[in-house]
Structure formats: structure tokens, C-alpha cells
């Protein structure tokens, strides 16, 4: 993948289907490098689906299908000659529930680099230390790197997952509601971390928490739901991108009445 194009990631006319069901319709979005973009919107609006299409995580669901273009520095990620494995190494992901591997802290971090063929204890030691320092976990765990990743607290586990993602040196980090399973103190730690990481990485975060979007995001994308009014049932709902703007602007002067109602908490 080559580095060109004005934006890090662009979505052009993206439609996403699960089998015959349309999940997200006609998303157009351009995201700048080294900014935090938040995806907000009511449940079922497809914000996670869009996020997972950016690193082709949707490929793991056999029935999922993406139409349109998702480009990374101008390169369409869905071109036939693009291997999703490379996409995921360049565009890392942190999940809703902290999911460390059932291995030691050290092995959790070293897993990705080892897959890529990085060998030698001193090199791996260096990567582990650097990654853990980047996620501000080093001081807490440096004395027992052999301890299982699952033995850490929820917030530490999530920062371990962030360190694990950083270890393979991606350019973009996708975060799918990374704080929804954490308490407020752990949430604060992850948010602080994001603000530091954004100096090096492009970050996209899905969140249910509008205050969180306001606290951390440079840009915010609001997704909403459209449905065929005459046909009842979930099958006839799909998500669309409602509004995309700098965070301050979206929260202070929303363009549409729907956005305004959502950020006032009238539906969710």
C-alpha cells in the first residue's frame, strides 16, 4: 500500500449488507491523519459495522458484503489484490470487551511481532517495553511480565490490548466502544492515553457516550437510522451517516434537528 491521497481514510458510497439485509447505506466520509474521530449514534445505526469495514474485520462474517470504496491513502482496501491480513496489521483494532490472549503479558505483546517474523529476545524485549510504555502500563506490570494477561484488572487489560495493537506499528487504531466495560477511573486512563496516542496514530472510536466524544474527539460522525415506514420490523431498518463535523461544531451547532435531538439525549 502506498502513501498518497489527502486523507488517511476515505469511505465512498459504502453500502454494507449482511446477506440480503442492508445494514448501512451510502456512507461518505473522509478522515484526516492523526486525529481522533468519534462515531456516535443510536443502537443499531451501523456505526460498529462501518468501523469494522475499515480493517476488513467484517470479512470474518461469511454473509457480510461491502460495496463502494474504502480507501487507505488512496488505495481501495477491497481491491482483489489486497490481503486483509496486511490491512489489519496497518489498521489495528481494540475491542469493546478487553480480550487479552490467555497468555502472559509479555506474550500478549510479542504475539503480533512474532507473527510478522520478528525474532530475537532482545528485539522482542525492546518492542514489549516500548509498547507497554506507550500505553502507560509499563510501570504497573514491568516486574511481572510473565503474569497472565487475564490476571490484570479490566482497565489494565484494555490498555494491554492497546499496547498489543501498537506493537505491530499500525497507522490507524480502531476502537469499538473501548470503555463501555470499564469503570470511570479506567475510562479516564484510556481517554488520556488516546489523547497522547493521537500524536502518532489516526484513531477512530465508536462510543455510546456523548461526553466521551466531546472530551476526546476532534471530529464526530453521527449515524442515524432510516426505515421503511410502511413495513414493520427490524429487517427494514438501515443506518446512514447523519452528520459529520468537527466535534465542537457538531455539539454546539448541529445541522439537523435529528442530531440535535440525539445529543440532547431525547433518543438513544
Amino acid at each position: 500500500m502506498t502513501q498518497n491521497g489527502a486523507y488517511a481514510i476515505e469511505l465512498k458510497n459504502v453500502d454494507i449488507y449482511y446477506g440480503p439485509k442492508l445494514a448501512v447505506k451510502d456512507v461518505n466520509l473522509s478522515l484526516q491523519s492523526r486525529k481522533i474521530t468519534a462515531f456516535i449514534g443510536p443502537s443499531g445505526c451501523g456505526k460498529s459495522t462501518v468501523l469494522r469495514s475499515i480493517n476488513r474485520m467484517n470479512d470474518l462474517i461469511p454473509s457480510a458484503r461491502v460495496e463502494g470504496q474504502v480507501t487507505f491513502h488512496g488505495q481501495n482496501l477491497y481491491d482483489a489484490n489486497i490481503d486483509p491480513v496486511e490491512v489489519r496489521r496497518r489498521i489495528g483494532m481494540v475491542f469493546q470487551k478487553p480480550n487479552p490472549f490467555p497468555k502472559s503479558i509479555y506474550d500478549n505483546i510479542a504475539y503480533g511481532p512474532r507473527l510478522l517474523g520478528v525474532k530475537g529476545k532482545s528485539t522482542l524485549d525492546e518492542i514489549v517495553e516500548k509498547s507497554l510504555k506507550s500505553s502507560f502500563l509499563w510501570d504497573e506490570v514491568k516486574d511481572d511480565l510473565k503474569k497472565s494477561g487475564l490476571a490484570l484488572s479490566g482497565g489494565q487489560q484494555q490498555r494491554l490490548c492497546i499496547a498489543r495493537t501498537i506493537a505491530v506499528e499500525p497507522e490507524v487504531i480502531l476502537m469499538d466502544e473501548p470503555c463501555s466495560a470499564l469503570d470511570p477511573i479506567a475510562t479516564q486512563a484510556v481517554e488520556d492515553l488516546m489523547k497522547i496516542l493521537v500524536k502518532q496514530y489516526t484513531i477512530i472510536i465508536v462510543t455510546h457516550n456523548m461526553q466521551q466524544a466531546q472530551r476526546v474527539a476532534d471530529y464526530t460522525a453521527f449515524y442515524s437510522i432510516r426505515k421503511k415506514e410502511d413495513v414493520p420490523g427490524k429487517e427494514n431498518r438501515w443506518g446512514v451517516l447523519g452528520e459529520f463535523a468537527p466535534t465542537d461544531q457538531l455539539f454546539s451547532k448541529p445541522n439537523s434537528e435529528e442530531t440535535e435531538r440525539y445529543i440532547r439525549g431525547e433518543f438513544g
Binding site: 491480513v85 496489521r89 483494532m93 470487551k97 490472549f101 503474569k147 495493537t165
Partner: protein, 458 residues
């Protein structure tokens, strides 16, 4: 919910509620008692089984020698004699058995041509009396046969033969453990042992003692027609060989098939058909697998397997447990949480790297549980091995996977069907060994499983 909610008439309250609750608790109690009784029945059955086995494997016996060792050697200790002397005893007492001894111990050719093959070939490598090289075993005199045995066999082997066929200790009468214990208790209180009194009356020359049929000798001796010296070495070795082949074949193939079906195969009608059929195969009676094994391994592939051999038997049992391993492994793989897969893909792992590094280790405890169940089944199988052609009377250790063999269940089956009552005690002892082997196998697998589980939880 507002505070002024007035209760509807649908929900029972007061006395009615109490009656309702008592009824619900009573129904729960009845079911609980039923489950408890089921457990009690199962435990009673298990204890009864163990007791009946132990009951037969230990107890008082009266043993009498056909010829006392003191008549054969001064002091009665056979181990002081050398090979030629022992061979001479055999020659004197059981001249007709010498051909069989030679065949069982020194033969280098197959059983059916042994008596027609010149000794030079038939017992190649053994020292022969002058001028007998070109004759076969039936052409030479009994003295010459004894000379061959004396010159080529170790004293320990010959002592076994003398003990078994010349001294020929016979158990004249055996009592069960539950008959023996009261007698022993009587003796403990200073009263004469009633069984001893009975034994002296009936067998004045006999040797009365408490015998454990399960001894180290029992485990290390080969099979015999004499219950007192019969052992299970050959059958035990056969069982170990067969189970190694069975697992060596079924575990990798079964887990591999499960990985393919669960991780790679797409949801097509053909794949669904294959999966359904594997489930059905798990329920096919084992004798059918025996016929399959006979047709494929023992007959069609006899050039590779050597016919009715350990390899044929192991592969047959492997086929038998393959469906069970596939089904259990598939369940275990399916139970691995998707979060682990996503985490692995998320840092740029390929499909195979994800399966090998994350999915398979996480599924391993479940896979091993399935394998424990399957191998326990294989260990106790008798029917398919009878069909494939296990022998019941072989006296040579199986030396390779293309040797003839017998296994513990078949040896037990053979002993229980013999007329002499003492063989039931021998069979009981063999059953204890089989159960211990089963427990050992299961323990190993459980330890392995715990280790995997521990390494997963940290």
C-alpha cells in the same frame, strides 16, 4: 412504575401464595430426591462391581504339586540348576513337549512351517548338536531336542517350564475373599481356621495359604494353561501397543478433520451431509468396525499391515473412535470465544496462525476430554478385535507393530470361558489390571487437560 399500582386479581397472595409456594417447593423436592436416588443406584452398582472383582482376585487356596521340587533337586530350589540339568528334567518328565518349547522360544520361522524346516533355518543362530543341521525338529531324537534347549536357553526360561509342566502346582481348591475373611477372623481369635481344617481333611499333601492372584509375577508372566502360573504380560503389551497405534492414528486425523469442518468448510449441503454422517458413524456398533477392519486392514492392505496384526487392530480401533474424537473436537473448537479470534486477526494474524496459536490451545482441554472418553472405549473393546483376528494363546512378546497380538479384554474373555474355576480368579486379577490401566490413561489425560487449562488462565 407508579406507587398507586393496585394489585390485579391474577397473582396469588396471602394464604393462596403460601400454598402455591409450598406446591412448587414440593415438586422441586421430588425431582431432587429422584436425582439423588439415581446417583445412589449408580454408586451401589459401581461398588458391587468392584467388590465382586476383588472377591474373586484374593482368597485362601490349597495348592498341591504334581511332583515336588525336592524330588527333582536336593533342597527343592530349581534356580540352583543349570540349563542342561533343567533340560534333562524336562526330557525325563515331559519329552513330548520339547518340540513346542523349541518352537515357542528359538524358532525363527512361522509356526506352520516350523516342523518341516531344516534346523539350520528353523532355529538359525542357535547351537545345534553335530549332524542335525539339515534335519527338521521331528527327525531328531528327544535327547537331541533337550540338548538344543539346554545349550541355547537361559536357566530362567527353563525353570519356568519345569515349574509349569513338571512340578505343575495345581490349585486344588480356591475360596473367595468373602469366604476367606471370616475364616481369617476366626483364626485371629485363636480358633482353628475352618477352611484350613477342611483343606487338611481333603488335601493332606496340599499347601494352604492366602493367595493374591494379582502379583508382580502375574503381570510379568506370559499366558499359560495353568492358572497358577498364567500371567498377562503378552496381553498387557498388546494392549499398550494397540492403544498407541489407535491414538497415534485417530488423534491427529480426528482433530485435523474437526479443524477442517469447523474452521474451513463452508456451509454447503455436501458438508452438512458429511457432518451428519460422522455423527451417525459414532453410533455404529463396534463389531461393524471389526468387519470393516478385517476387510480393509487385515485383508486388502495385508501387504502393509501384515494381516491380523497390532497395526490392523490399532487402525481398526482408530476408525472406531475417530467419529467421537471429531465430534468432541468440533464442539471444543466451536466453544472458543470469537473475541480470541478477533484479537488475533486484529493484530494481523493469518487464518492458520489464529487457529494454531489461539483457537487450538483454547480448545485443547475440550479436545482432550473427548479423547479420554474415546480411548477408554478403545481400551475395553473386544468384539472388533476378535473379528480382526486377535489371538488368545500367544506366548511371545509382540516385538513390532506387525506382530500377532492379544489384548487384555480378549485374554479376560478367554479365561472366563475356561472350565477350570481358578481361571475366574485369574480373570478377576486381569480385570483389576485393565481398570488400573484405564485409570492411568485417564489420569494422564486429566493432568494434561488441567495443564492446558492452567496455562490458559495464567
Amino acid at each position: 412504575m407508579s406507587a398507586n399500582n393496585t394489585p390485579s386479581n391474577y397473582m396469588p397472595s396471602g394464604e393462596a401464595f403460601k400454598r402455591n409456594l409450598a406446591g412448587r417447593n414440593r415438586r422441586g423436592g421430588i425431582w431432587g430426591t429422584f436425582y439423588y436416588l439415581s446417583l445412589v443406584v449408580a454408586i451401589i452398582a459401581l461398588i458391587a462391581l468392584f467388590l465382586s472383582i476383588i472377591n474373586q482376585a484374593f482368597g485362601y487356596v490349597v495348592e498341591a504339586d504334581t511332583i515336588s521340587p525336592t524330588e527333582l533337586v536336593e533342597g527343592g530350589d530349581l534356580s540352583t540348576l543349570d540349563s542342561p540339568a533343567l533340560a534333562a528334567i524336562l526330557l525325563e518328565n515331559v519329552p513330548g513337549r520339547l518340540i513346542v518349547y523349541t518352537r515357542d522360544t528359538l524358532s525363527r520361522v512361522s509356526e506352520d512351517v516350523f516342523t518341516r524346516t531344516p534346523l539350520r533355518e528353523a532355529v538359525a543362530g542357535s547351537t545345534l548338536p553335530a549332524g542335525t543341521e539339515d534335519l527338521d525338529i521331528t527327525d531328531i531324537t528327544a535327547e537331541q531336542r533337550a540338548e538344543i534347549l539346554g545349550a541355547n536357553l537361559g536357566a530362567d526360561v527353563l525353570v519356568d517350564y519345569v515349574t509349569e509342566d513338571v512340578v505343575e502346582a495345581n490349585v486344588e481348591r480356591a475360596w473367595s475373599l468373602f469366604e476367606s475373611i471370616p475364616a481369617a477372623v476366626t483364626q485371629l481369635f485363636g480358633q482353628p481356621n475352618p477352611l484350613l481344617v477342611e483343606a487338611i481333611e481333603e488335601y493332606p499333601d496340599g499347601d494352604f495359604y492366602f493367595r493374591s492372584w494379582l502379583t508382580l509375577d502375574f503381570i510379568t508372566s506370559r499366558g499359560s494353561d495353568e492358572p497358577t502360573v498364567a500371567g498377562i504380560r503378552i496381553a498387557l503389551l498388546g494392549t499398550i501397543w494397540v492403544i498407541i497405534i489407535t491414538l497415534g492414528f485417530a488423534f491427529p486425523v480426528g482433530v485435523g478433520a474437526a479443524i477442517y469442518l469447523q474452521e474451513y468448510a463452508t456451509d454447503t449441503p455436501l458438508n452438512r451431509l458429511i457432518e451428519t454422517n460422522i455423527r451417525n458413524l459414532a453410533g455404529v456398533p463396534s463389531i461393524i468396525y471389526g468387519l470393516l477392519g478385517l476387510a480393509i486392514f487385515a485383508r486388502a492392505l495385508s501387504d502393509i499391515t501384515g494381516g491380523r496384526t497390532i497395526l490392523s487392530a490399532g487402525l481398526t480401533l482408530g476408525l472406531l473412535i475417530l467419529p467421537v474424537i471429531i465430534i468432541n473436537s468440533q464442539e471444543a473448537l466451536r466453544a472458543v470465544p470469537s473475541s480470541i479470534r478477533e484479537a488475533s486477526y486484529g493484530v494481523g494474524a493469518t487464518k492458520w496462525q489464529t487457529i494454531w496459536n489461539q483457537v487450538l490451545p483454547a480448545a485443547m482441554p475440550g479436545i482432550l476430554t473427548g479423547t479420554i472418553l474415546a480411548s477408554s472405549r478403545a481400551l475395553g473393546e473386544t468384539a472388533p478385535l476378535i473379528v480382526v483376528g486377535a489371538s488368545t494363546t500367544i506366548f511371545r512378546n509382540p516385538l513390532s507393530i506387525i506382530d500377532k497380538f492379544t489384548v487384555l479384554p480378549i485374554q479376560i474373555f478367554d479365561w472366563t470361558s475356561r472350565p477350570q474355576a481358578e481361571f475366574r480368579a485369574v480373570a478377576a486379577a486381569a480385570i483389576i489390571v485393565l481398570i488400573v490401566l484405564l485409570l492411568l490413561l485417564n489420569t494422564t489425560a486429566i493432568i494434561l487437560r488441567q495443564r492446558f487449562r492452567k496455562s490458559l488462565q495464567g
